[in-house]
Symmetry: C2
Subunit: 476 residues, 2 copies
């Protein structure tokens, strides 16, 4: 009757109960990923029971249309349109409907009655994660979402757990397979964006309406989630500055290649000096979260991520640089991430004590782009005449933007006629068929405001035809 | 007085208790990693308390000599030689002594009184992990060891948790920084092993006695740990077939480069058909675990892992190919991995329910090298005369070993005299100064026995001077 023997008895009972335990699993969504998850739950039941410490009983799959054709052959009686009823009797809910509603309502209902939830719903988490985390904590339930970022790549758990004793300073992610496929194809073939997009659509790598991918919105949702976890604060989609890849041209890619670089769409989350106190004053920390096409040196580990693959590069004070690489989408890879969460969550339910879902231990201000400094690549089409470089350079200098490198490429229209054609050059430099030069500058770190003012003044120079591109540079 | 209000009250009490909770931490070992861990515990106390849900109070650092000089300046009163007393009053023990004893005794003592343990002790885990896991489970304590494999790279947790709903089929790891540094330097400079090893020792990348690294023993311990976790079985160091890099020559590296490949020391853990039933019969599964120098195509993600970096490549049925990359050693990176385990373990202690340490849910037979098929690269020095290739090829054929590619390089000693020297060739082909050819074969998959028999017979051919190298090939 000592407390020790009571503890031992309790432990023994817990083990006995664990051996017999059955957890009722509700699956919301019967699409590509849902079908794969159901297949794994049914086919690998024995191994999953051994690993989870409980039998995972799939009670049903909530879908909009029970009779719709499916990728995977599953027992008909599993399908139901009654998501609410299914959620009400579940110990563990797997939400794969996507979108905000009714996914949000079902997840909150599950958490409120103490069921744990596994989801891959990045849009919902980026928009309203805080509400969900609070509800999970209030009910001692778990909310896990490894599949929401970078598909099968374990990145959520490493950031939340493995790096929980370190100080993450920066996360750079290739987290959208469609845009990486497009940029990688442009890099390989030299083709223009529109042509590669059409090919990607034909091959099924891009959707008929590619907006969410190519405008960077999908990546922005993932950036918000990564930033929240990495910096133990709360970041929502509205906090993410976002620019897509639709303006990246074949000329940008070619210029990047000439400079030993490549262009990737990166989700960037950075710990920076708090802009409210003035950048660099060290008076407080803030977070910058952004998505934009980025020039990267070809020697950077992220530059070697080809095709539709994803990778997340993490910099931490003690760990140094880490990279996580793998398939970022697809039914089976995403199902793998979901099932990892399901087994781990089930283990904790069996152990009697889910972990806390809320990861925010502080509130860091969001630092706007005006306070962030980055390197820029600026491409100009100018008249090929003496003194142009000096005039352009003086504009950079006026705004305090320091130039790291400059490359010039002369491509006058007459030159196509032969080597001697250059002698025919119109001395005014602006006439029909006058030769042009392309200048590509890479700057040292500058603020967006300084760069914008520089570009505005450069555009007003009479020797400048156009500013052909402005791209941010990382990793140099 | 409803059960709901009781549950809410209990949750609130748990939260209150968590806010006040103090966990007593004992640190065993004050070396490079131990000093960094102590520094983080003291300097980042506030952030760690917020993330762990409890204050982590460093009660002491057990060392052999309290007065010894240390890398990091820490309060003198923390040091003690009484490891046993320190362990006895700890909630959480961090073991960084290394080696088998007294580390093993202290870990078992901690687990027996219900304290959880975080360790980076790969040698102990590879030799006696099963005993430690059983003791942890018997006492409802946690045993975590992320730092034991690949330093700061989160790989233990992803395999144990993130991939727990998938079926891992193969793990290929560059898990020893010293040997990767040496092979990478040989690849870059063309130098011989002995010269690069001396340079690595001078730079501090290799120890004065480099045996554990260059003979593959360090990698073998990590291979045993990875195989145990990946395949949910028990693998100890004795089960690992191990070959180091001391025989890798500059000529091997050059030949690899000619073939578009590189040589890496890989820790390989594979799920294979059980050798006891005959490979490929599908009657049962087994595990093959080995460490050896391996030819890899330069396009393989592991080929891009340079210097002392580590990386682990995981193939799983649903997730596909994943890679985890980062710093594999060093005080701060290893301390990052230790602290991730410390915070995560503390969270679970606060939640009242540690997870189960034991990960073995089945017993898979170890499949010996005799049942494993791999591709091989075989280098021969032969007389440069007609018919040699055909005679060598027929020996491969006799043993059922199929040739995928062959490259020939002629380097007769006379040829150094000038282009015309080839005409002076000794027709017997064996005389003083006769010209030699080097043949490099890459085979299709073959058993080690078939390859060994082939090599033995090739050595007996009178036209063969020597077998210069036999290397395994992966990733083709």
């Amino acid at each position: 009757m000592t407390s020790t023997s009571e503890a031992q008895l309790a432990a023994a009972q817990r083990q006995d109960a664990g051996a017999e335990r059955v957890l009722t699993v509700a699956l919301l969504g019967g699409g590509t990923v849902g079908s794969q998850v159901a297949r794994i739950l049914l086919d690998d039941a024995e191994a999953l029971t051994a690993r989870a410490g409980a039998r995972l009983e799939l009670a049903g799959i909530a879908v909009r249309n029970v009779g719709a054709p499916r990728d995977v052959e599953l027992p008909r009686e599993l399908y139901t349109t009654d998501a609410e009823g299914l959620v009400a009797r579940a110990d563990l809910v797997i939400e794969l409907m996507g979108g905000i509603e009714p996914a949000r309502t079902h997840i909150l209902a599950a958490l409120r009655h103490g069921a744990s939830v596994v989801t891959g719903n990045k849009a919902l988490l980026a928009q309203d994660g805080a509400t969900l985390f609070d509800e999970a904590d209030a009910n001692d339930a778990e909310l896990n979402f490894e599949a929401a970022v970078a598909g099968a790549i374990p990145i959520i758990r490493p950031i939340r757990e493995s790096l929980s004793g370190d100080r993450i300073t920066r996360v750079l992610g290739i987290v959208n397979g469609t845009t990486n496929f497009i940029l990688d194809s442009m890099d390989t073939t030299g083709a223009q964006f529109a042509d590669v997009l059409a090919e990607a659509q034909r091959l099924g790598y891009a959707e008929a309406d590619p907006t969410a991918d190519v405008e960077g919105l999908d990546a922005a949702a993932k950036a918000a989630i990564l930033a929240s976890l990495a910096f133990h604060t709360r970041v929502s989609l509205d906090d993410v500055r976002c620019e897509g890849i639709t303006k990246v041209s074949a000329a940008d890619i070619a210029a990047a290649q000439d400079a030993g670089m490549t262009i990737k769409l990166l989700a960037i989350a950075e710990l920076v000096a708090d802009g409210a106190h003035g950048a660099g004053t060290g008076k407080g920390e803030g977070v910058s979260v952004r998505v934009h096409p980025t020039l990267l040196p070809r020697t950077h580990p992220l530059a070697a991520v080809h095709g539709a693959y994803n990778a997340v590069f993490v910099e931490a004070e003690n760990a140094g640089s880490l990279m996580f690489y793998g398939a970022g989408a697809g039914g089976a890879p995403t199902a793998s991430a979901i099932m990892g969460d399901v087994v781990t969550t089930a283990r904790r339910i069996v152990a009697g004590s889910p972990g806390r879902a809320g990861t925010a231990t502080r509130v860091l201000p969001i630092v706007g782009p005006e306070s962030i400094t980055t390197s820029y690549s600026v491409g100009l089409e100018v008249a090929d005449q003496p003194g142009v470089l000096s005039r352009v350079a003086s504009v950079f200098a006026q705004h305090g933007v320091s130039i790291e490198t400059m490359r010039q490429q002369i491509h006058g229209t007459e030159k196509a006629g032969g080597a001697g054609a250059a002698a025919d050059k119109d001395p005014a430099g602006r006439g029909e068929g006058a030769s042009r030069a392309e200048l590509r500058f890479v700057t040292h770190r500058a603020t967006e405001a300084a760069l914008a003012a520089t570009v505005a003044d450069i555009k007003n120079l009479d020797v400048v035809e156009s500013v052909t591109s402005v791209l941010r540079v990382e990793g140099v």
